[in-house]
Amino acid sequence: MITIENVSKMFKTKAGLVTGVDEVSLDIRKGEIYGIVGYSGAGKSTLLRCMNILERPTTGKVWIDNVDLLSLSSKELREARQSIGMIFQGFYLVSSKTVFENVAFALKAAGVPKSKRKNRVLELLELVGLREKANDYPAQLSGGQKQRVSIARALANNPKVLLCDEATSALDPGTTKSILKLLKKINQQFGITIVIITHEMEVVKEICNRCAVMQEGRVIEEGSTYEIFANPTEPLTKAFIQTVLSFELPAKLLENCTGTLMRLQFRGDIAGEAVVSDMLQTFSVSGNILHGKVEYIGETPLGIFIMEMTGERSEVDKAVAYLKERVNQLEVIQHA
């Protein structure tokens, strides 16, 4: 649906040329929710803005639905933008217009006649759950409600793509959840391809099918969200994953540990506990789970446990080897 080919974006600053996006190529499929994560300044926002030419790439190509956006005249580009919705961290609603008028503006921009606007606006407000706020001004709304209005505005002209620029970063966790739920509903109900820029791994975990990690203008890792969570390779990706799957053990506990400490990771298709109990019956070791959690990434569970194993060293080694074959990942943190 969205194809980015060798896109680079340079900015002229007082300090000289700065590279915002560096030779990025991505292929975002129709109907998926795609996440782009990175710290601020990694170039993810600039990359997103290249997808609707709010930022014109210095080099490279951008196709959306097989249309080469960079070859369009400014009038054609305006028309193309009507099928690319965008929402922002700062909502950017027109403060002098009511909720209704804010959404209606998008239809007006697309040349929808006035008589047809009303029904469509009310339909959109119904979708985002703000029908009764139609005549309110943005100043009267909460952050989450403002974002809902901006989603309604972005969806007004039935776009094929929805670009979300840090759409939940200004919202509290509860509101973030409800906005993500709404985005998921939109994705499933209308098949709209969604691209989400965020620095919150929680957001990616919650709704993204695939994701990319950006650093210094480059995409350093890309794949299905589950694979990224289960097998991150780059240090930055690991750091991001840790914000969601953190297993810091208290120092005191580590000191008092006498056995072998290990971290086990189970993938969705392995029943974790069964493997552990089999191991305990087979070998003469005892196990003690210190920490554990099953995270659902999309719908698939990913289990991570920290276990202390005590027993004869040779038995422990055998048990570890046994587990290594059966679990997705095993890492010995500290030996007895």
Partner: protein, 220 residues
């Protein structure tokens, strides 16, 4: 003293109407030409949807040029132009020409700075939705800057009331002219005080009205 004021009333009335006429005409011209000019200065700025260095520079220089000439000199300087336009150089209509020329760049800069107050993201969101430049100006910039545009118009009107007194000195008429002719040249304190009070009341009223409207249209 009261007799003197009553005696003065017809002349005060004429002078007041002349002032209103001068300020009214030049304010209208400021809106008709200064407003689009200010919007042009804004939308051709760097990073905006009609970015154009050349237009921005040329319009900017013209605006600065007029604004750097003291009004009293502009008044004299524009006499040939006034004559060409109104066929006379005296009276409120003639004075309105130079007042208008001064009001245009004055209001244009105020419009530009009022537009700058709009969050750029709001304009960007309109660009992202595929709106045309004209639609963004008409439906986004204009309503969003409305409170600023109205309080800017108030500032312009009050400055013009002041300028119109200067225009009076070269035969423009109006309250300022009355004050100078009777109050200054003839040492008539009553006229001086009366005209000053009329001006104070007028300015207070304009300011109050401007603030009231600006507040009424502000939805932030």
């Amino acid at each position: 003293m009261l007799d003197r004021i009553i005696e003065l009333l017809p002349e005060l009335n004429t002078a007041f109407l002349e002032t209103m006429l001068m300020v009214g005409i030049s304010l209208l011209v400021a809106v008709l030409i200064g407003l689009p000019m200010g919007i042009l200065l804004y939308v051709t700025d760097k990073g905006l949807f009609l970015e154009n260095k050349f237009v921005k520079l040329v319009v900017g220089i013209i605006v600065n040029l007029i604004r750097s000439i003291p009004f009293i000199i502009l008044l004299v300087f524009l006499i040939p132009f006034t004559k060409l336009l109104t066929n006379t150089t005296i009276g409120p209509l003639a004075a309105s020409v130079s007042l208008s020329v001064a009001a245009i760049p004055f209001y244009a800069r105020i419009v530009e700075s009022a537009a700058r107050e709009i969050d750029k993201g709001v304009i960007e969101a309109a660009v992202a939705v595929g709106a045309s430049p004209w639609m963004i100006i008409k439906d986004i910039i204009f309503p969003e800057a409305k409170p600023g545009l109205i309080s800017g118009l108030t500032i312009t009107a009050i400055s013009l009331i002041g300028y119109s007194a200067m225009a009076g000195t070269v035969g423009g008429g109006g309250i300022g002219d009355l004050a100078i002719r009777y109050g200054y040249y003839r040492y008539d304190d009553t006229v001086m005080f009366t005209t000053v009070i009329v001006l104070i009341v007028l300015v207070q009223f304009v300011q109050y009205l401007g603030d009231f409207i600006a507040k009424a249209v502000n939805k932030r």
